[in-house]
Amino acid sequence: MNQRDLELLSSYLDGQLSPSDSARLESRLSSDANLRAVMNDLREARSLLRRLPSRKAPRNFTLTRKMVGQNPPVPRAYPAFRFVTALAMLLLFFTFGLNFLAPQLGSQAPAYGQGGGGGNPEIFAAEAPATEAPAATEAPAAPSAELVPLPTATLSAEDSGRIAETPAEKNGLSEEPPVRDQAQGQNAAPFVPSVWQIILAGIVVIGSLLMLLMRQSAINRWRQKQ
């Protein structure tokens, strides 16, 4: 039995042969017992499979919205609100971080610099030209400060303020005493004014509420439509 005959017999059983091919095969079947036997085999197998009862599905396979990840369509402005709210939130955290870190960074400046500045970087920058002259005149003092850095942990805010004042006072350049007092540690003004933080917090709260309302209204509309 060759493959071609096997295919012919199988197709014949399914009624897939053309009338002429069927007639030719029937003629061969009437004279070829071997061919008939194979056809009977195929017919039996086909018949058994077709008599196999169909099984009912054990449960319903319907899909839920969660399964297909279907979400209600949100308004077009929603992504813009999301972006602005997220940005405001980010900036708010950034301002908190900046206000927390700025005084600490500033308080380390006298130990490694020329003794000027104090806690506020703005004041430090403003003093820079004034401290250049004493630095030149007090050349022996400056290298010692650099070679043996003062242990900042042991210095109080007042000490560092006093060290900062020393060169300027010696040269009669202490023209900003009230500002220096402000710069002394704990009473320093925040790097980012709190009004900005309030504005940012407001944007975050209002943005979140609006997004919630938009989403809820979209879900309600979507449910009504379904």
Binding site: N40, A57, F61
Partner: protein, 202 residues
């Protein structure tokens, strides 16, 4: 409701329309998966996966036989499952006899109108056929399940399996012959109503 309307609505994103199609075809899809995989739980998983995949890609359906298109998704899900099994072979939960045959007696033929004797007979036949199907190469098995168990015509099977019509004919003929040979080994087990004619094979 009209199938074309349901398909159109499902393509527009209506999950309810798609679920109506699921309810209509779930028995066919599940049976196909069951015969290809030979395990009810795996077949249920493959059926669910097939419907999920069908929903996601329903916009790619361009007309023709929706059943054939669905059968393609379930065939793919079954092939994925078989590949997974190949990578992670698992120990069957059913107890085995000394010669390694599983002792399960599939009760899932269950026609409530059957007498216990008829049910036992049907269970035997079912077991024998599934055993022989499991021994077929998966390409043969898929074709014979679709053509002979699902009653699909050759062109539908060709669409579902994505092979030429000539290949379908060839695979179907060879699958039937192999099944016949395998089932002869069960001839004593088969009840008279199902018994094959002895010695007819050439």
């Amino acid at each position: 409701m009209n199938e074309q309307v349901l398909i159109h609505d499902a393509q527009a994103g209506s999950l309810d329309a798609f679920n109506a199609l699921v309810l209509h075809y779930q028995d066919n899809v599940f049976n196909t998966a069951l015969r290809i995989l030979g395990d009810e739980d795996l077949a249920a998983d493959a059926t669910q996966e097939a419907f999920l995949s069908a929903f996601r890609s329903i916009t790619s359906f361009r007309g023709g036989s929706f059943k054939a298109w669905l059968m393609r998704t379930v065939t793919n899900a079954c092939y994925d499952e078989l590949r997974r099994q190949k990578r992670r072979p698992s120990v069957p939960l059913e107890p085995e006899t000394d010669d390694g045959e599983e002792m399960d007696s599939p009760r899932w033929l269950a026609d409530p109108d059957m007498s216990p004797e008829q049910k036992a007979e049907a269970d035997e036949v079912e077991h024998a056929i599934q055993h022989c199907l499991n021994n077929l190469p998966v390409e043969f098995k898929t074709v014979v399940v679709m053509a002979d168990i699902q009653g699909m015509d050759y062109s539908e099977v060709a669409i579902a399996v994505r092979v030429p019509l000539g290949t379908i004919k060839s695979r179907l003929a060879r699958a039937r012959l192999r099944l016949r040979e395998c089932l002869q080994g069960f001839s004593e087990l088969l009840p008279a109503t199902f018994r094959l004619e002895e010695g007819s094979s050439a």
